[in-house]
């Protein structure tokens, strides 16, 4: 049991546990908080897979920005009480079963014949460093990078068109 394995297992357990909590908590606020923890765990995985830059971005963007946004909205609608009436049992179980089925089928589908080792030791190289990614991003991936600006523009307009009171 090497250290990485210990860390891996630890992070995985945390991630899965919190994910389950996310979908089971009655109170939306708790869900958000658990989701944030999940994201932290996943960031941990990123570091383990030496994607340091992504790990940081994940924490900042997701856990930081997005989740806070969620939190704001929840507060704004003050749904922070345990307001949500439960779905009827039938829907609940059928949903759970269907999702579980999907999970199992996926897992089974992607079980390879023989094992593919992905790392021995932390010798990760500099793939995940800002330098490497940055150069790639602004050379090969320039076009998509620029184009994503259109996305943001439309999101902005969307905020205006939908959000603006009139």
């Amino acid at each position: 049991m090497t250290t990485q394995q210990i860390i891996f297992w630890f992070l995985s357990v945390v991630a899965v546990f919190c994910a389950i909590m996310v979908i089971t908590r009655k109170n939306p606020v708790f869900s958000v908080l658990y989701l944030i923890i999940t994201f932290f765990a996943i960031s941990g995985h990123y570091i383990l897979l030496n994607a340091q830059f992504l790990a940081i971005v994940n924490v900042i963007v997701y856990a930081g920005a997005i989740m806070v946004l969620f939190l704001f909205v929840l507060m704004l609608m003050n749904l922070n009480k345990e307001s949500e009436p439960q779905k009827n049992k039938y829907m609940l179980w059928s949903g759970a079963i269907a999702g579980g089925m999907l999970m199992l089928v996926l897992i089974d589908a992607v079980r390879p014949e023989q094992k593919v080792q992905i790392y021995e030791g932390l010798s990760g190289g500099n793939v995940g460093l800002v330098k490497n990614l940055g150069t790639r991003l602004f050379t090969d991936y320039l076009v998509p990078f620029e184009i994503s600006s259109i996305l943001f523009l439309s999101a902005m307009i969307g905020a205006v068109v939908i959000g603006k009171r009139d």
């Binding site: 076009v143 600006s149 307009i157 068109v161 939908i162």
Partner: protein
């Protein structure tokens, strides 16, 4: 790739125009000018090549198919603006924003027809979808519009998740997200690839509203403001199909294999049956058209099912036929005060010209000869049969469904020509001259393609 660039640009221009110009009609004119420019640019690109060359690093690829698809999309949009512009102005306060969003969607469509990398596909689909979420909800006071928008958003996001999982697995399988690299890799990773492709296929099926991933379509089309429904049901759907075809045109490594054929054939069968049969009993023409768009998607899926040169030609003709006819019908529907079939009663008396053109569009959708729709269906069936007699059952099913489709398309004709108009019938909004000419052009296109499909296809062959 001009399209992407300039469409984005025009979007921005519209936003600025929104600040400067206060008159909605002027906005519409600007938009029409803009779209015409885009169309001309596309023609230029078709003949002489792109105006500006971006350093695409083979993220994008221009193909004759893609350019022709763009041309169809742009022409359709142009006519759409001409016949529906007035109604876009009526939706709400943010007219320039609506146009801007539409232009962004066109940029996405441009991506969809020219991507050479799954990342670009992903971005394209998102750029198409996100403005649509907004347009769907554009009629803010209307609860149906809200509901449609939220449904569309939730399910769209879900399908995005599926698509991303698929792309991730493809990446896992091939170590790349470039389309050209998608081919069967050495053993241990092939499983990832298959799963990935399947999930990608499913998410695309969602975007083109093929059963059993069609559930969002009727509700969203019904709830959205009718103008935007027209846009979604025609241009956007065609763009999605372009992406679909383009994807499998590139990924020849794994397509077509019997497994995929089976999967797709099941999807087609479900789509045809659900779309056609459910449409029969609808009372609102708008919702009927939503289901008919599902049914037509079932036919277009044939192009994916049997990917060959016939289906490439076919999807072009089908796209054009479907776009023009459906836009025309929606345009006429927009003039109606009541969207039920009875609203059409006696239209031939009140507006013979409209009725005649509506008849042309309906016949085209039903696939009657002398209209473009016939050749659309013809090519689809032909592409399926050109690979031999296996899957004959699918073709027969398709034909039976085509016969069923007559049920609901001809209900409109019967209403227009043979039903007497009741005295309490709500009369129809006045139709401007531009509107009539626009419709007329649509009808002419429908008939022209129906008699001489080459007019459209020639470009592929020189």
């Amino acid at each position: 790739m001009n399209l992407i660039l300039f469409a984005g640009l025009l979007g921005v221009i519209m936003m600025i125009a929104g600040l400067l110009v206060k008159n909605d009609r002027a906005i519409t004119y600007i938009a029409i000018v803009g779209i015409s420019l885009l169309f001309l640019l596309n023609l230029v690109e078709m003949s002489t090549g792109p105006l500006v060359n971006l350093p695409v690093k083979d993220m994008l690829v221009t193909s004759k198919f893609g350019l022709l698809m763009n041309a169809i999309i742009l022409m359709a949009t142009l006519l759409y603006f001409i016949v529906c512009g007035r109604h876009i102005e009526m939706v709400g306060k943010h007219v320039p924003e609506y146009y801007a969003l539409i232009f962004f969607v066109l940029a996405g469509a441009g991506l969809a027809t020219s991507f050479n990398n799954l990342l670009m596909l992903f971005l394209g689909i998102e750029i198409i979808s996100i403005p649509l979420y907004i347009l769907t909800g554009a009629d803010k006071r209307n609860l149906k519009s809200n509901e449609a928008s939220l449904k569309y958003f939730l399910m769209g996001a879900f399908s995005t998740g599926i698509m991303l999982l698929g792309i991730a697995f493809i990446y896992g399988g091939t170590g790349s997200i470039a389309i050209s690299k998608i081919n069967v890799p050495e053993s241990p990773l092939s499983l990832y690839l298959i799963t990935g492709v399947l999930l990608l296929l499913i998410s695309m099926a969602f975007k083109v509203s093929a059963a059993p991933f069609h559930f969002w379509t009727p509700d969203v089309y019904d709830g959205a403001p009718t103008v935007f429904t027209a846009f979604m049901a025609t241009i956007v759907k065609v763009a999605a199909f372009a992406a679909f075809i383009h994807l499998f045109a590139g990924a020849t490594g794994i397509f077509p294999s019997q497994k995929w054929k089976l999967v797709i054939s099941v999807i087609i069968a479900l789509t045809l049956v659900v779309g056609n049969i459910t449409a029969v009993f609808q009372q609102s023409v708008k919702r009927m058209l939503a289901y008919s768009s599902i049914a037509q998607a079932g036919f277009m899926m044939f192009a994916v099912f049997s990917y060959n040169y016939i289906s490439t030609e076919g999807i072009l003709i089908y796209a054009a036929a479907y776009c023009f006819a459906t836009i025309g019908l929606f345009a006429i529907l927009l003039k109606m005060e009541d969207y039920t079939f009875n609203g059409f009663n006696g239209l031939a008396k009140k507006e013979p010209a409209l009725a005649a053109m509506a008849t042309v569009f309906l016949l085209s959708l039903a696939g009657i000869p002398l209209t473009a729709g016939f050749f659309g269906k013809y090519y689809m069936v032909a592409s399926a049969l050109s690979n031999g007699g296996s899957y004959l059952w699918l073709v027969i099913l398709a034909m039976v469904c085509a016969a069923i489709s007559v049920f609901y398309y001809f209900r409109v004709i019967q209403a227009m020509y043979f039903k007497e108009v009741q005295d309490d019938a709500s009369d129809i909004l006045p139709a401007s001259l531009a509107f009539k000419y626009g419709l007329f052009v649509l009808a002419i296109f429908t008939l022209a393609i129906g008699i001489m499909p080459q007019l459209l296809l020639q470009y592929l062959y020189f």
